[in-house]
């Protein structure tokens, strides 16, 4: 069970209060009705699934109920940062390794 820092509750809480919500920073296209099949596939299906630092969404569903973003190393499961929805990706040390 992970321990996750909720950027809204401003403290670490047990994973049981959270729900993972997939890859982060995939914005729904503005003109979604007009995009190509390929663009829709990229938006809805293709995932980077990195072995290393993943940017992902969580929801503190049994806490403050907010969605937020996290950067986590998928090899160690260590969180490098969590930040509020709408904020840009944080600059992380060691990224790209």
């Amino acid at each position: 069970m992970l321990l996750i820092y909720c950027p809204y509750c401003e403290e670490e809480r047990p994973e049981l209060e959270f729900r993972h919500a997939g890859e982060a920073h995939i914005a729904r296209p503005e003109n979604i009705a007009g995009i190509s099949d390929e663009a829709f596939e990229r938006y809805f299906f293709i995932r980077s699934n990195p072995k290393g630092i993943a940017y992902e969404r969580w929801r503190h569903i049994h806490g403050c109920a907010r969605f937020f973003n996290a950067a986590r190393d998928t090899v160690s499961d260590r969180f490098l940062a969590t930040y509020r929805t709408g904020e840009p990706k944080p600059r992380l040390e060691g990224e790209g390794q």
Partner: protein, 181 residues
């Protein structure tokens, strides 16, 4: 004209008293799910007669009324006297959402020197006084149910949950309470 329908609480008749622990259903109360942005807080605080808390995991209480911070734009307002909370909020023109949830939730009072330990049977948060002091309030989980936990005294907690989960929550509390540590 018919007579007003009677109330039946989901935990009617349930109670447990054990070594260092008492479990009891709380009396019916009125409750509001209040959602609002920062700008509306002064007006809403005024209307409700208490200062809506802005810090995570805190609450504000005034008389028999309390507001529990649940999220950055969400409060659970509880009035033990059964005041018409939606009516109070309706007078506020600042942008907000007030939804009556008096009957959605029910509450269990967990008290006694073992309260913290009994709650730890299902709640994964750190409930020691340093981390969860008197007045602290948080939505969290208890076993396989969601609850709102509010510490109203050194050894007193109020557990709010949706009514259909109350049987489970009470039963799990009772199971834990029956164990001597």
């Amino acid at each position: 004209m018919v007579e007003a329908a009677r109330r039946t609480s989901p935990l009617e008749g349930r109670a447990f008293r054990g070594h260092g622990i008492v479990l009891a259903p709380a009396a019916p109360a009125s409750r509001l799910s209040l959602r609002a942005a920062e700008e509306a807080l002064p007006a809403l605080s005024k209307a409700l007669g208490l200062s809506l808390p802005r810090r995570p995991k805190t609450s504000a209480a005034e008389g028999g009324r309390a507001a529990l911070w649940l999220g950055p734009d969400e409060w659970l307002v509880i009035d033990e006297q059964g005041a018409d909370l939606p009516a109070l909020a309706a007078g506020v023109s600042a942008l907000h959402s007030a939804v009556d949830i008096s009957h959605r939730n029910t509450a269990i009072l967990v008290s006694g020197k073992r309260a913290e330990e009994v709650l730890a049977a299902g709640c994964p948060q750190d409930l020691c006084e340093a981390r969860f002091p008197v007045g602290a309030a948080s939505r969290t989980v208890f076993g396989k149910a969601e609850i709102v936990l509010w510490r109203t005294g050194k050894t007193v907690f109020r557990v709010e949950c949706w009514r259909s989960f109350s049987d489970y929550v009470f039963s799990l509390l009772e199971k834990a309470a029956r164990e001597t540590m």
